[in-house]
Symmetry: C2
Subunit: 378 residues, 2 copies
């Protein structure tokens, strides 16, 4: 038993500094949410925990604006919810159209390929969005079983309009999948009204909850697709039939729910419902406009024109002569503020500034603008 | 926008009762761990968070008793770690032997099938364990690329001896996968000494951390298997090459880490290292013996003979004439104590009593025995 002594172990604690998280996520969790993360655990089949799961489902339906029965939180981060949506709706050989105008569209297409889909990609430069005509043309060229779009591209700051797309997709018996990671809780997602078939999000953006449980909803048509699969879903962990039986009346054991994060998500969704979606959307718009005005005042330019600019995530062009990394490091070390660098083709070209959930408030705008004013020498 | 108002929303809070969790898991989180769950979030690429990830890796190596470079926490529950191990080591058509003597062995075999393996199962009645001869005979009949065993079967309470198995498996170039969900941190797992190639666990058992991040380690041989795959891993979320690049020097973005749970896991692993593995194992043995003596004093019988009985999870036979569900309900509602019912073929036959991590202490033993004494009319 001397063996274990050979492996070094440093048991000292680590100081966690206070940060204002204004990057692409995680955003700061609401203090009222954080507080719930320390509540003692319940068993994952405790009657009180099952009630809490029901309440989370109800509040997720409110937040997604849907009555979909199959609405739950996937036990993982937003990427797990993305994979759950793709893995359950795709069978080997299925035709899938992915509209790619940023990093997360690419990720969806990669996942669909891994699950054996016959993937076709249509592309736009990062920061632009697809028109109804773009989708119409693509669907005229080939019938698709699934069409995937990113509502709010976290890598570009662009807001993809969704009006009318479902009609085109449904006209050829396809299903519409929408990534709402950076939109849910910050701007309208309107799953039922827009007839979206599969939609998912993350907890750590506009919901202001720590990451680890991710909202997902499937329309009855998507659920039917799931029930009529010819092959089992390769992933057991993300199999929505099994997840649905744990969240549904059967309460069939599938995994040990992330209990603490479920407490947090419940608290976060209650705060969304207490504020009201419309008020919450308006708050995000209001402080985004204040941020934009301030950034313009500093002479900064935007990567995305206002018509398609996300209120929750703004991409600003890094001014010529300014050191990307150094400026972000100073922001973090000297001002305690995190903003994001560019991803993929926007690396080194833009900064990504999030005003999400709890952080969509005056203090965030003021602190960031003050710091940037100093760092940019304005 | 009247739409959202039609969806009912109940924003009242829910009282979370205090429970003593003596079931198969989750076990109570250590209060010192819970406290860390409320610490404000860091970004998942913040230098301080990256240091915390490094520290988690070091402490996981200590806990697994390994020097494996590829040692990390999978962003999901124990089932996610199980799937990560299987999905990354199995390619379509690979021969896999799964030794099934309980529910979780079955689950491994199901996962291996989903990922396309040519699965062979050898079985034992639930509660029994495999001998070296069992494994030798099975491997003589067919060469296997992967052999999977459950070290501590959470469904039966049986402890599978591991000595000597790796030699048999490695002799034919196979890899050994071991499920240590209910053993890690409570009894020796000794990954390096026993030459285990893939091993994983959960956070919410003997580590006394909330679930949501799950320890996993791959030997250099398992890592080589991963690097030499002919096909990509179907799951993107659980692709260990990608996860390894986030946990490794590249820090390549893959997912947004469950930050709060990472704080919790770090605190939990520090407590393991402060106590020391040997002391911790001895504490689990000590209080398990006290529990066993007490249960015997109440006239209860054990499902697993002492030679193979887990210290962390005890299965006791439900006495004739005692109502399983009613007794457990009373334990929960009147005494605030959760124990587990039987799973699968042991449903209605046994209770599962966990003394894991923080809960392996005198108070747990006393409270449970007092309550059972009263409920069983002894």
């Amino acid at each position: 038993m001397t063996h274990t002594r050979e492996i070094p172990r440093d048991t000292t604690d680590l100081d966690i500094p206070n940060r204002l998280l204004l990057g692409p996520g995680p955003s700061n969790a609401d203090p009222r949410v954080l507080q719930k993360m320390s509540v003692p655990l319940l068993g994952h089949l405790d009657p009180v925990f099952l009630t809490l799961m029901n309440r989370i489902q109800e509040l997720l339906r409110y937040t997604f604006e849907t009555t979909n029965p199959l609405t739950l939180a996937v036990p993982g981060t937003g990427t797990a919810a993305m994979e759950a949506a793709v893995a359950n709706l795709v069978e080997p050989g299925d035709r899938v159209l992915v509209c790619v105008n940023g990093y997360f569209g690419m990720r969806i297409s990669e996942m669909a390929r891994r699950y054996g889909a016959d993937v076709r990609v249509i592309s736009k430069p990062w920061g632009q969005v697809f028109s109804l005509d773009d989708i119409r043309q693509a669907l005229a060229a080939r019938q698709e079983k699934l069409v995937a779009l990113v509502h709010a591209e976290t890598s570009t700051g662009a807001l993809q309009p969704l009006e009318g797309i479902a009609d085109l997709v449904h006209a050829q018996d396809g299903l519409l999948l929408v990534d709402a990671v950076t939109s849910l809780g910050g701007l309208p997602v309107s799953v039922d009204r827009l007839e979206v078939d599969a939609c998912y999000s993350g907890a750590q953006k506009n919901l202001s909850c720590p990451p680890g449980l991710s909202p997902l909803t499937f329309s009855p048509a998507a659920e039917a697709r799931l029930q009529n699969r010819h092959s089992p879903v390769t992933s057991f962990y993300l199999d929505l039939t099994l997840l649905g039986k744990y969240w549904g009346a059967e309460r069939q054991y599938h995994h040990t729910a992330p209990i603490s994060t479920a407490y947090g998500l419940f608290a976060a969704l209650r705060l969304v419902a207490e504020e009201g979606l419309e008020q919450r959307w308006e708050r995000h718009r209001f402080f985004a406009r204040r941020l934009w005005e301030g950034l313009q005042g500093l002479g900064l330019e935007f990567h995305v024109p206002e018509a398609h600019r996300l209120p929750t995530l703004t991409t600003v062009c890094i001014p010529q002569g300014v050191d990307d990394l150094l400026t972000r490091q100073k922001l973090l070390q000297e001002y305690g503020i995190e903003i994001g660098g560019g991803l993929g083709e926007l690396k080194g070209k833009v900064w990504r500034i999030g005003l999400m959930g709890y952080n969509a408030r005056q203090e965030s705008v003021d602190r960031l603008l003050d710091a940037l004013r100093f760092l940019l020498g304005k």
